[in-house]
Subunit: 511 residues, 2 copies
């Protein structure tokens, strides 16, 4: 085993130096995405998009297995739909893209200007409850037409004032499930089923532990009776909402007119349906980056990595090239025969004609789980120099070729497990029970001699939902992220109001 001489890091600034800039630099150096000249809109580059495709593939299968079907609804929503649900408008329609014209015309100076004014403006969907609700109202006549279990993979637009790649962009990609049910009980069960599905996905695929439960009143989805959330802890100890599942009661059914003939055949027997909606977005990529990456760039959980392994042929003299590439190709094809996580191991050979160091670092920054170097020495001795992304960059283990082939699936599985373990340990270390407001303030306040060092994390404190968090938010930048399902059953005074309560909430700074 060789060890690194230098301790330089590939990402500058480091996490400690400037976490926000470190994040943007990781995104850039991993070639995940980049800004465009369209305000708040990003290009998702092939390596970033492949991560999204993997997320989509896994979730889509889980949605199908739980009885959901995919469909597609219009990008545009007529303005008048928003006037039906006042609360929804307040929350969603405020900052959105408004289409007012359907043509470009040349003006007197030969410049292009909007023409063909629409009679009614169209809103680019910020979310689709209203347009899907209008459609379900047509589809649902009797209890026999329920449940409707539909999901949509789509782009949505919310005009963000402070966009950040993956975390908060004007246009983003997501899935939105929209279901309608005969009974309240069924709809609540659906809402919770989907929350649990997200929790399971984050844990077992993104290697990202979450705390999950109910959102407090003031953080609920506009129009929802209950919003459930899962909150992950980033390495700067801030909370990131990784997904939400909403029980909408009969609110949207009433504003959209989703009514059905009940099982009671006698009399009028009509009832409004109970609906739900649930979604995760490309934000999950941001969450994954900030959970695992280090000062050398992206670290990918193997289960979600676009490629598992890269083979780097070290060609020092051009006459050796053929032999190196043949050795690399045979290694690639032997590895691709192996299975891991129920799929073939994906292996890329980097054939680029660039310096070996540059080539190796590019893959470190891209977060590929395993790097295999094959040079003249390895070729001659039928070995492979192996480096795991989760070890220091210059750590190499030289192993017999056959051993690398047989062990790769186990190494990938082990890395997946280690990443989860690390993330769970980090979350535990920075989760703390607080019993008083003073303790809460202390938890989020850096000691005098280190004003910039990271503080806080998840503070678990008693919380009565009637209490306002406004002062807390203003003074500390802390909000109530969720009221976890998992409660110990004891009670105490609310940190804010002093009122006795039996539930603790997660207080945290948040993305």
């Amino acid at each position: 085993m060789k060890n690194a001489k230098s301790s330089r890091s590939a990402i500058s600034p480091t996490r400690e130096e400037n976490y926000a800039d470190w994040y943007l630099e990781v995104v850039k150096k991993a070639e995940l995405a980049e800004h465009t000249q369209v305000r708040g809109c990003m290009v998702i580059k092939p390596w970033g998009y492949a991560i999204w495709e993997n997320i989509r593939r896994v979730l889509d299968k889980k949605f199908t297995q739980t009885g959901h079907e995919n469909a597609y609804f219009p990008l545009f929503i007529p303005l008048r739909y928003f006037e039906k649900e006042a609360k929804h408008v307040e929350g969603f329609a405020k900052e959105c893209a408004v289409v007012t014209h359907h043509r470009l015309e040349q003006n007197g100076e030969g410049r292009l200007v909007p023409g063909g004014k629409l009679e009614e403006p169209l809103i680019v969907r910020p979310t689709s409850e209203m347009i899907i609700g209008e459609t379900y109202a047509k589809w649902v006549k009797s209890y026999r037409d329920l449940p409707i279990l539909i999901n949509q993979w789509a782009n949505v637009v919310r005009w963000e004032m402070r966009p950040r790649m993956f975390l908060r962009t004007a246009e983003f990609l997501w899935q939105e499930g929209h279901t309608a049910h005969e009974t309240e009980k069924e709809a609540i069960a659906e809402t919770l089923q989907m929350l649990n599905l997200y929790v399971d996905f984050c844990k077992n695929y993104l290697a990202m532990p979450t705390l999950y439960g109910r959102k407090p009143l003031e953080e609920r989805f506009p129009g929802a009776v209950e919003t459930y959330t899962l909150e992950a802890m980033m390495q700067d100890r801030r909370a990131l909402q990784a997904g939400t599942s909403h029980f909408l009661g009969q609110n949207f059914a009433k504003s959209c007119g989703i009514q059905f003939q009940t099982r009671q055949s006698s009399g009028e027997g009509r009832s409004y349906a109970w609906t739900t909606s649930w979604g995760v977005t490309t934000r999950l990529i941001g969450a994954m980056i900030m959970t695992h990456s280090d000062d050398n760039g992206l670290v990918l959980p193997p289960k979600i990595a676009p490629k598992h392994v890269v083979i780097l042929p070290i060609v020092r003299r051009s006459e050796e090239a053929k032999e190196m590439f043949t050795y690399a190709e045979k290694l690639q094809s032997a590895l691709q025969q192996k299975q891991c996580f129920g799929q073939s191991i994906s292996v890329q050979i980097d054939r680029r004609d660039i310096r070996g160091g540059e080539k190796m670092w590019s893959w470190v920054k891209k977060g590929i789980p395993l790097r295999l170097e094959v040079g003249p020495k390895e070729c001659a001795s039928k070995t492979v120099s192996l480096s795991r992304r989760i070890d220091p960059v210059s750590t190499k283990i030289i192993l017999p070729r056959e051993e690398v082939i047989s062990k790769t699936p186990y190494m990938l599985a082990e890395m997946q497990a280690l990443l989860l373990e690390n993330a769970e340990r980090f979350q535990e270390e920075h989760t703390q029970k607080v019993e008083t407001l003073e303790e809460l303030y202390a938890f989020f306040t850096p000691p005098n001699d280190a004003a910039t060092c990271p503080t806080g994390g998840f503070a678990l404190g008693y919380y009565d939902e009637q209490a306002s968090t406004q002062v807390l938010q203003k003074e500390l930048g802390v909000t109530v992220r969720c009221i976890p399902f998992d409660q110990e059953g004891s009670s105490g005074p609310c940190l804010l109001s002093g009122k006795q309560t039996n539930q603790r909430a997660v207080f945290a700074k948040a993305y």
Copy 2:
């Protein structure tokens, strides 16, 4: 074998009575899509969307195998980008959705109105050459950065004045490939490779033969040097453009600034890249419908069907239900073990509590390839009543259960082949060489005594590209669809100008 008593058809009007309305009725009765209150936008329902997912899955794999990667570019394009490519604007930016505001506000009367006017309007992408070109200009510095081989699955918007579901909608789903190359030769090879990939896909998956070749000058993509097309013949003998692949020369590279350092290291040695773009859309679903469906509704090529087989349990007395369902479930699980077209056979049991006739017809209209009925008789004798969608509706064959299980993969493959055969025969029957303008007019003109009967098809006539087709278009509604690659090598006078030429073109009415 039993035969039908009645000859009623499930779709009214029939193809003969009114082809356009028949089409819309097939779409409706198969539950593929429906109109919305948003002008020109449709809801793609689960059965229709599953067809699109199958098309996407197959094509996406082919794109990957030919070296392409997926990425995602912004929905919005700044207005000024369109001013750079005048020809492109003429063709594309004329009828499009223009975003002018980024907020909704309440006016004095409490009504919602657009607020927050944008400094520069944004266009909802009608196609992405310009925004992707601007991005490639940043990515490409040297010949080492080429080729760029990227595809995007996305929604696009073109303000259609006469929308028709799947065929022509304001918003539609598509894939758009955008590649940049070092040499003209490479770019042309890419353009043709993708055309051939589409031709192969249409033939071998949609069972839809096409004629393919170059577009004449006046039908080219705005800004393209050469547009290649594949044209399918619908059952009303009209041509439908099923996909296009464009060789863009250096036009877009020049307007977007995609320049690179050439291999010649001496001197300035900079060159503009050679680019291509290629795409197919949800229109393919319309093409598939009109190629195979009949007066009883949708007919699906098994390779692209959301489900291959439906099992219809016939429950006459409730005490029989359990036995029927058990029999059906065992049949389902045995069939799902079988492979066809490289994937598991997908089988659905229809458990709905509705009349048997209604249930059966709903699947006929949805075009499912195989229907298997299991009632008390079949249960007792360990048989299954089997009906193929391509046979008359009441044709049933009673076969031993084991035989149905073992033969299903072959029956599906046979149906796939028969659909292609039928479509090829139809196309051949209605493709004709014409040597004079009179023959061309005769080909497209119904005999006096049958003014509404279908006429025409593909007329193959000599055509000189300088000749205008305006009169033809006005008088007959006929245009030049393509100049096929496949030419016999002889020559003759252009039908329109009389000028000697060695190429025949496909003249047809078109969607």
